[in-house]
Structures are given as structure tokens and as C-alpha cells.
Amino acid sequence: MTFYGYRRPDGRVGVRNRVLILPASVCASDTTRIISQQVEGSVTFNNQQGCSQVAPDQQLTMDVMAGYAANPNIYGTVVVSLGCENCQMDLVVAAIRERTNKPLEQVIIQEAGGTLKAVEMAVRYAKQMVADASMLQKEEFPISELIVGTECGGSDPTSGLAANPAIGAMSDLLVQAGGTSILSETPECIGAEHILARRAKDQHVHDRVYEITERFEKHFHGVGEDVRAGNPSPGNKAGGITTLEEKSLGCIHKGGHSMLNNVYDYGKQVSAHEGLVLMDTPGNDPSSVAAMVAGGAQVVVFSSGRGSPVGSPISPVVKITGNKLTFAKMEDNIDFNAAPIIYGEKTIEQMGEELLQMVVETACGKQTKAEALGFTETAIARMCNYV
């Protein structure tokens, strides 16, 4: 199977061709919004971080910023910083340059002489980049070039019965074809670690599965809380999910039956052609999707029993539900209906093939429902409070 995408100078392949206006901190985010509004073909997002952070917390922000810029769906990036934030321009540029050699421009608001002057500079850079990007022709690539992120949010029992198994079948097919599939959401491995650990490639990967789940739980104990206090959510429970363990056992179906080859920390660069990997992300959907996209996922497949609208500024997000009532009620938000699995009309394998087809069509340029609605909301995980 093949798709048509954009070859990048760093060797990776994009499925979209956008210019990123990257806010280095919360203090640059209003400015990047104004810039992006004036440049058709550009994207931006609200960065709530970038300042007043201790080192490990700032690292999460830096990895998402660098990963977004390096994601092959992005042609090039205009970084906009205020000037005095912790995520200094030279640090952000160095982090991006560690990951990619794509076009990069810089605007520092305090040096440019305020918002309006910074906007003018950045708009000129971005318009030139969009013009350059528009000259690129698509080429045909094997689907082994794809890194697909998998997510579940607003889960209900149909997620574990149909939508996630269909994603798992798609993931297995992608892995067999030589691609990479990312399983995510560390709290939603709790109660199912032993199943993932049994499928680990080696002892190191096996131990890492336990390490990230234990670290996640301990983190909450550190502030006197239990991760189970907020997970499952009220919507999960209303749908019929009783415990976090039940949710987890449904969640991990997204990884199919493939061998688990690696466990990545939040937002780190994921390798192509690596098969099934796990990334340490929170259960919060926008920040989990952000980490996988920062890792290089060109497409995200996202199951939702209750009907989540979440998109991404960088990568198309394909929505799938196993709940026939949700599909009927929220068709404007959901791309794929996996309910036929529950009612014996189609097998998991058939739906996995159909879903892979939809992933390939999406990679070729077909708009997802979230893209059509212009949904770009995103979030970055936090380690602790601001200083």
C-alpha cells in the first residue's frame, strides 16, 4: 500500500504541508494568533507554558515545541518568542535543530519593537514559507513511512469492544507493512501492564512498561491524590465503565497483538519503521495527542464512545466510535463507525482493513471531520506547578 505525501529535507514524509507559527511561551501566543490569521496555510496554537517552569517541566514543553516544528506535516516554522521567557529563542531553535533541518525563522517581540512590528516581520516570513511550500509536489511513498498515533478519549464500553479492537487490527496491519504505531496514555495501562509486558521485545522494554505506570501513580501520591479519583471520568462511568482497570483493558486493544518494541518518554522523537511502541502520556486527550504528534505521528486515530471533538494543529485526527447511538448523534464529529463489530455484521479484521484504508486516504489529503471544523486545540503535559 502507498500514499502520496511531501518529502522533507530531513528524509521524513509529511501528509500535510503547513507552516507553523510557533509561540515559545504563553506571552507570545496572542501574537502568533494574529500572525496566523493573516497567513492562509499557516497554523498555530495556544502555548500555555514556556516560562516559570522547573527543568523537567520545561523539558516537556520544549519537546512538544521542537516535535511540532519537526513533524513532517510542517514545511517550516516561524518561532515567535517574547524575549524574556525561560524557553529562550536560542534554546528553542537548538531543540528544533536537533530534530530537523527544515526552514526556520525567528522573531523576538521585545527586540522587534512590540507586537505590531513583530507581527509584520513574522507575517512576511510566513507568507514566503507558504509560497515556497506551495511549490512542492506530492510523491508516492509506501505506508511504512507512516507513524500513526492511537488515542482513546471519552471512552465507554464500546471503545473496548469495537473501536479499540478495530484500531488494534489497523495497527497490526501497519506494523506488518513496516510502519510505526504508537500506543499512549499511561494511566490507561494501569491494570493491564502485565498484558503489555508479556508482549515486550526484551527485558528492558518489559521493565519500562512497569516503570512508567508506577511513576505515574507515584506522581499523584506525591500530592496526596490517587489517579483513580479522576479516572474513569463522569462520562466514562455514565457510559458504563466502572473502574480504571476496566478502562485500561479496553484501552490497550489499540495496540493490537503486535510485539511491543519500545517505550518512549513524553514527546520524544519516535523512529519510523519501528512497529508497535508505547509513549508515556497522560490520559488527558489533547496533551496525549500532542506528545504523539511531537513524536512524529503524521496521522492520529482516536476512538471515542461518548463523542470527542479533539483535533490537532499539526496532524489530521481520524475519529472512530463503536457506539451506534453516538455515531448517529455526532456524525459531524466522527469519521468511522465500528459498531458493526458489536452487532456481528463485520469482523474486527474487516473493520481494521477499512480503517487502514481511511488512514491512507487521510494521509493522501482527505479532510477529517476535526479538520473540516478547524479544530486545532492542543495541550502540553505538566510536571508540577509554576514557580
Binding site: T158, E193, I195, T242, T243, E246
Partner: protein, 97 residues
């Protein structure tokens, strides 16, 4: 025969309603293609769980062939199984492999 529930693993002691079920309705699910029926003790919201075997207080609730919780009271066959009668098992994660 109206199949209105499903069971995932042979070890499970709960089934999932795949249609809305009212108290007194016949609940039918397939085990290796063969229908098994019981009577619903309560209304069961679509996609919620009901007991297929009596589950004693303190016994594990099993779905996907795995422990998803522990019963906090005796749960009779056909009863709704959810947050009112189940808590997280919180088992030692490394002992289960």
C-alpha cells in the same frame, strides 16, 4: 432469538448489554455461537454490565478474562454491575504476569 448482550471471554462473570434491557427481560448472549439466556433483575442501560453468575461480596468481577474490580456486596445473576457494587481491585501489578 433476540441477542441483546455479549460476553467477551469465557472466564467473564459479566455480560454487556448491547441494547437497552428492562427488568424482567430475557437477556441473550452468544457463547461460541450458542445462545445463553437469563432474566434481567434490573433495568440495564445499553453498554452497561450485568452479572451472568452470582458474584459474592469480595469476589473479583471478571471482564476481558481479567479482574476489573471487586464486588462490594453479593451480586445476583441478572443484576446491574457498576460503581454502586464494584470497586477497583488495585492488585499488585507485577504478580499478574
Amino acid at each position: 432469538m433476540n441477542v441483546n448482550a455479549m460476553i467477551i471471554d469465557g472466564k467473564d462473570n459479566v455480560a454487556i448489554a448491547i441494547e437497552p434491557i428492562a427488568a424482567g427481560d430475557t437477556v441473550t448472549y452468544l457463547v461460541q455461537g450458542k445462545p445463553v439466556s437469563l432474566k434481567a433483575a434490573q433495568d440495564i442501560t445499553i453498554y452497561h454490565k450485568l452479572a451472568t453468575r452470582p458474584i459474592a461480596k469480595g469476589e473479583p468481577v471478571v471482564k476481558y478474562g481479567e479482574h476489573i474490580g471487586v464486588a462490594t456486596e453479593d451480586i445476583p445473576v441478572g443484576a446491574h454491575v457498576h460503581v454502586h457494587n464494584v470497586v477497583s481491585p488495585q492488585e499488585d501489578r507485577r504478580s499478574k504476569e
